[in-house]
Symmetry: C2
Subunit: 220 residues, 2 copies
């Protein structure tokens, strides 16, 4: 299993920047303490996806933060990103591992306890529990799982895949961080809580401080 620090996991695409440059947004987030940039872009075509991924990679080089590509393994390979993030309907983790090799980071979204149970034996380095609270950032037909659902899915994920960090996503901002980390998450994935702000670096720093405090309070 590859190590990845998912404490402050920033998801970024052309629809999230309020007109600003993708690579500059990524650099600011990382400067403020984001540990992962996930480039998620369902609009752009392949050539732009690769160009944007390469620009983000250059912008965060040397920071220690990881660059993951949502869904498109070919884009991750072409841009030499650190890995991919997969949904349940994306290319299967075993195929992704075969294409990306042993050192790539592969993450998976979990939306229900069945997904967490199915982690067992999969070539996954971290998972992220989706749909924790209601959000406007993504069409999500399922009702939020809430803190109870988060804790339940997280416990199953830890048993199924010991040692792999478990993050949480959807509707999480500064206010929710203590409860989300308290419920067991190792990190928090955000979009608008970082990129919805004028000062991206400052927004990231405030979130990161809150996450680190909450993890310390939990004794993690």
């Amino acid at each position: 299993m590859n190590q990845v620090d998912i404490r402050l996991y920033a998801i970024l695409g052309p629809g999230d920047t309020r007109g600003r440059d993708l690579a500059q947004c990524a650099a600011a987030a990382v400067a403020g303490g984001a540990t992962v940039i996930q480039y998620r872009d369902k609009q752009s075509e392949g050539r732009d996806l690769v160009a944007n991924a390469r620009a983000i990679k250059r912008a965060i080089a040397g920071s220690g933060a990881s660059l993951l590509i949502n869904d498109r393994i070919d884009v991750a390979l072409a841009a030499e990103a650190d890995g991919v993030h997969l949904g349940q309907n994306d290319i299967a983790p075993e195929d992704a591992r075969r294409l990306l090799g042993p050192d790539a980071i592969i993450g998976l979204t979990l939306k229900m306890t069945d997904h967490a149970r199915a982690l067992e034996g999969q070539p996954i380095d971290y998972s992220c529990i989706g749909g924790v609270f209601a959000t406007t950032s993504k069409d999500n037909p399922d009702p939020p799982v809430g803190l109870d659902g988060l804790a339940r899915i997280e416990a199953i994920a830890r048993t199924a895949l010991p040692g792999a960090p478990v993050g949480a996503i959807a509707g999480i901002g500064l206010r929710e961080i203590p409860a989300v980390i308290g419920a067991g998450a190792d990190g928090v994935a955000v979009i608008s809580a970082i990129f919805g702000h004028d000062d991206i670096e400052k927004a990231a720093r405030i979130l990161r401080d809150a996450i680190d405090r909450a993890l310390a309070a939990r004794g993690a």
Copy 2:
């Protein structure tokens, strides 16, 4: 340069089957003489793309026809297809070649003379001139290039990349084949001219016969 027979190039996706099974449609087209199946699917998610590509591959195995995947290099790799077909906005041919290796077939759509000139030195095995006639199969904002445009782009493509076959696509059926092959195309790409018929195998056979006759008449 890898050899590929593009004489009857059948493009197939879930929207083209009139509710029939993708793999069975591909098998019928190949039985009638299709030399390439291009799996083009802009709707399905990654896991289904790989499953469908694998099913088509099994269905046409041993026929000698090539399976190419539109756009998604990761799907081609996961399903071990013969190669990919790329548009001008898809991942660049040089990146595709690096990811797919020397033996994969890589094709590129050309829509204007500039695209044909730019073929020089590219790792491309065939090209296909798009937008020859008006079509209902694909949104195409540009006006058709017609037979004159086809002949003009084709001549430039042959000079830029000698030895690579040049196909033609858009609005081509049985009636147009003599003129399209007469204008210089080495093959014809079709969707509805094959898959719009109840008897796919028969439709493919009639087209293939017409293509072979037109190529013989040209002395190709």
